[in-house]
């Protein structure tokens, strides 16, 4: 009997998420199948997936999110590895530096990037100044600019997640692997990397979902290049087509769930443990 009391602890959280998340999401998704309050209708989905404009945006969004995730992992992993092996004092300092960018809003940061990578921005001026290029590079208002902005946004999260996982790896495991004959590379690939998989998955999901749904950065740095979130915004606020906006929202939720499931499956394959 008394055991049931422990469920009271999660009741507020469950209620909140049910009322403010599950129910609205459910209603949104259900409404997409009933455009005219009549019988269920999936023709809107069908026509959307034949629309090359939409498919191109879906593909761009996926590409931007996946590339952002990969770049965050590739840059974040060695950085986190370095930080995790520092002394406690140094580690605290480096972690504070890592999360420092999180204290400024994405809007401010996106505007800074406009100044840096714009036509007459810092990067182009510098590159032309030393004569590497003659014409300014078109970076701003391209998917590349969006990726740069998103990496800047999510790298701190990646690093923090990975440092947490790496710190929990006992140093004796690495010594043990070496004493059994593993080279530095072997220790890394056979022990460090597999044990970091949980961190890579959590970090990967955070970054992917974050960049897949990000609005400010693509809106400010992407220019005419739409992504799903900006397309959704355009449908809802500019075109006032709430039905189409709901369909886009439903698609984004499904894609997110598929990607999370795939990453979890991959993680279980790489790090069986249980």
């Amino acid at each position: 009997m008394r055991n049931y009391y422990k469920y009271l602890l999660i009741l507020p959280g469950v209620l909140f998420l049910t009322i403010f998340m599950l129910v609205p999401i459910g209603m949104t998704i259900i409404s997409t199948f009933f455009p005219n309050e009549a019988a269920a209708d999936t023709s809107n989905y069908a026509s959307l997936f034949r629309d090359s404009y939409f498919l191109e945006i879906l593909w761009t969004t996926l590409r931007v999110s996946i590339l952002t995730t990969i770049i965050c992992m590739v840059i974040g992993f060695p950085t986190a590895y370095f930080i995790a092996r520092m002394s406690a004092k140094m580690k605290a300092l480096l972690l504070i530096l890592t999360i420092f960018p999180l204290l400024t809003s994405p809007v401010v940061r996106s505007f800074s990037w406009m100044v840096i990578i714009g036509r007459n921005g810092l990067v182009n001026e510098a590159l032309m100044g030393i004569g590497i290029i003659q014409e300014p590079l078109e970076i701003l208002y391209t998917p590349t600019a969006v990726i740069i902005g998103l990496v800047h946004l999510f790298l701190p999260l990646t690093i923090i997640t990975l440092v947490g996982v790496m710190e929990s790896i006992e140093s004796d495991l690495l010594t043990a692997a070496a004493s059994l004959g593993a080279s530095r590379f072997g220790v890394f690939t056979k022990v460090v990397l597999p044990l970091c998989v949980p961190g890579l998955v959590i970090g990967g999901i955070l970054v992917f979902v974050g960049s897949f749904t990000a609005y400010t950065t693509p809106a400010l740095l992407g220019g005419q290049q739409r992504v799903l979130s900006t397309l959704l915004y355009q449908n809802a606020n500019t075109l006032n087509d709430w039905h189409m906006a709901s369909i886009l929202a439903a698609i984004m939720i499904v894609v997110t769930l598929i990607v999370i499931t795939c990453m979890n499956l991959l993680a279980n394959k790489l790090n069986p443990r249980r």
């Binding site: 004796d172 059994l180 597999p194």
Partner: protein, 352 residues
């Protein structure tokens, strides 16, 4: 012939020397324990041998070859960690096979050797388990199997039993000794548990503050400690600082504050400190002392404690305070009682 030698080795952490001009030499097939209190440098010595640490000075010779700069992964030594250090993401089989896979042994041969060593370690049937699903003793045996399977030239144990409960500890040390003798692998074993070291080892090195105070077989150390530290460490609770000693026909006459005690001559001991175990002293009430008491000293009981099998007394005498364990069957002595303390001449060991 010695298998390996540490020659004038110095190890320091942040300028503080842990080992200074340290020397150790171990013969083929021996099991040698490094025993000492925490911070005495025993684990440092072991990690140095394993190659986990670099020495600032000195040499490590293995089979007459200079191993000082040979990296850990090229040494072919098996190391058993205090916390086992099993790879949590691998099954028992994969943990044990790890070393063989690094050595590019063929698949069939890996399976063969892993299963054989798991059999030796009484771990048959556990191949597919993950470490999280093993008990402490099982993890320990996996750790040993993993170190053994590579057929190491040297086996190193770092307090392998300290995380196990008392019964298991006794069983495991018998197992370790059995496996070590069966395979004839030279072994260095670090522990702070005296009984464990004595029961398992061919030789014990008692370490203190980065030096070896004594390196002998367990029986010799037990009977013939060389220094006061060693004597104290292995249970000689009573020490008498003599002023002088001279050779007599019936032994050594050692004098302290005008009182002369006779000490039976041991092997060339030169020290001036007499060490005696509490168990070896006898106590008699002053009025009931027999006539033939060896090295009789008068004293007074300060504290008596009941230990179950015996009483422990603190006795104050003119040559210092003594701890005496006396048979509980005899009538207990009261606090403040005048007594005669007998210090049998055979039981006094003169140490440095």
């Amino acid at each position: 012939m010695s298998l390996f030698t540490l020659q004038d080795v110095t190890v320091a952490y942040q300028k503080q020397a842990i080992l200074q001009d340290f020397n150790l030499s171990i013969g083929e097939g021996e099991l040698v324990s490094l025993l000492g209190p925490s911070g005495c440098g025993k684990t440092t010595t072991l990690r140095l041998i394993a190659g986990f640490l670099q020495s600032k000075q000195g040499k490590f010779l293995f089979r007459e070859k200079d191993y000082t700069k040979v990296p850990v992964n090229k040494r072919n030594f098996g190391f058993v960690f205090q916390n086992y250090a099993l790879f949590p993401h691998m099954t028992v089989f994969d943990n044990v096979a790890f070393g063989l896979r690094q050595r590019k042994v063929s698949k069939a041969s890996i399976k063969d050797r892993v299963l054989r060593v798991l059999d030796i370690a009484s771990l048959k049937g556990f191949e597919e388990r993950f470490p999280a699903a093993l008990s402490g003793g099982q993890k320990q045996r996996v750790a040993i199997a993993r170190a053994l399977v590579i057929e190491p030239d040297l086996l190193l144990f770092d307090e392998p039993l300290s995380n196990l409960d008392a019964n298991l500890r006794v069983n495991m040390r018998v197992e370790i000794r059995r496996i070590q003798q069966e395979l004839g692998i030279t072994t260095v074993y670090v522990s702070h548990d005296q009984e464990e070291c004595f029961s398992i080892s061919d030789k014990v090195a008692i370490m203190n503050k980065g030096i070896i105070e004594q390196l002998s077989d367990p029986a010799t150390i037990y009977r013939q400690p060389k220094t006061k530290f060693v004597a104290d460490f292995i249970g000689f609770k009573n020490f008498i600082q003599f002023d002088s000693r001279r050779q007599e026909t019936d032994g050594i006459a050692a004098t302290v504050q005008g009182i002369t005690l006779t000490v039976q001559q041991q092997d060339n001991d030169t020290g001036l400190v007499g060490a005696i175990r509490p168990d070896d002293l006898r106590l008699y009430p002053l009025d009931a002392a027999p006539m033939t008491v060896e090295n009789a000293v008068q004293g007074k009981v300060l504290i008596s404690t009941y230990l179950g099998r015996s009483y422990q007394y603190e006795v104050k005498t003119s040559i210092g305070q003594f701890t005496v364990n006396d048979d509980a069957a005899a009538a207990p002595l009261a606090n403040g009682q005048e007594v005669v303390l007998e210090i049998p001449k055979k039981q006094i060991v003169l140490v440095d």
